[in-house]
Symmetry: C2
Subunit: 191 residues, 2 copies
């Protein structure tokens, strides 16, 4: 397998776009090569099989959604209040919505995993880890609310983002903002 890291990353980014556009069924090595504008046969030199490509594309989505050290540093400096959680949740929904192909690609991977047990195992592990990191971060920062609060926010906001990305006229932007705030108001203790 080839190892040029920039090339590998470009292929994974192309795979995310193909997944979001064409669905998992459209994800072939050839489609990835075309999307990445590289010679046919390139992707198959980087990934031993389609499952490896799918699971690495999933990992790449999380990598691209990582808020980065700056946001994390800022979070620790915020007061431990419900208002701060509200701000963080708006920031998170904005970050995920700004990368629509990432969220749609993950959804396509989930649907594909109902047909592929090995993909399901890897995806379960990725999502479990990501959720646990979110819980740990919330508790480490000392923000109000417990582990279940984080899970409930995760569940609601994931579906709210799906609404925004697939049926944007159901809740417009103002309504989406208001729903995030009222959700946080109901789920998170004041401080």
């Amino acid at each position: 397998m080839r190892q040029n890291p920039e090339r590998r990353t470009a292929l994974l980014d192309a795979a995310i776009e193909v997944l979001a556009d064409q669905g998992a069924r459209g994800l072939t090595f050839r489609a990835v090569d075309q999307r990445a504008a590289v010679p046919t046969g390139t992707a198959s030199n980087y990934f031993p099989n389609r499952d490896a490509l799918l699971t690495q594309a999933g990992r790449r989505v999380f990598e691209r959604l990582d808020p980065g050290p700056e946001v994390i540093g800022e979070t620790f400096a915020l007061p431990r209040t419900r208002a701060s959680v509200d701000r963080l949740m708006h920031e998170m929904v904005g970050r995920i919505t700004a990368f629509p192909s990432g969220h749609l690609a993950m959804l396509e991977l989930r649907l594909e995993s109902t047909r592929r047990p090995e993909l399901r195992a890897v995806l379960t592990e990725q999502i479990k880890t990501n959720l646990q990191e979110n819980i740990d971060f919330h508790l480490d920062t000392g923000m109000p609310g417990d582990a279940d609060t984080v899970v409930h926010l995760y569940l609601s906001l994931n579906w709210l983002i799906i609404e925004r990305l697939t049926l944007p006229d159901l809740f417009d932007e103002a309504r989406t903002d208001a729903l995030i705030t009222s959700l946080v108001d109901q789920l998170v203790p004041p401080r």
Copy 2:
């Protein structure tokens, strides 16, 4: 267009299974004919085009998920308490999870609608109507919580069902039950 209602319903039920199994891309008239075990050409006699088939399949999912007059009558007889809402939410998650192809088919329709504006308009209308019916029903029964409470329950439980259907090892059945109860506890006033 042919009008035999039983035949039309059988074709829509077959379309739901094809959507859940093969994704929207797999949904052809031929695939529906095969799944319904009817002669090739039947589905195209019942639906003028693929969009009509897709939107009617969406409507059929809601029809099959309707709890029916018995559950609705029972609900009006329940005390107006958080415990009753908890019971109703468990019942609803159980009902939707027991028809996995319905929920997966709706998700495939949403993803397809990102590529087809006409499908998106109809689907938005269907889902808006269904959500409003849920809100009206909640308020009519006098259960605790307001319209936003119903929207938050809708958002969270939709994603929880996606987890159960696509990555069932993320939250097992006991954890799913506990999450529904803790969600209701946090979102719904006691009475």
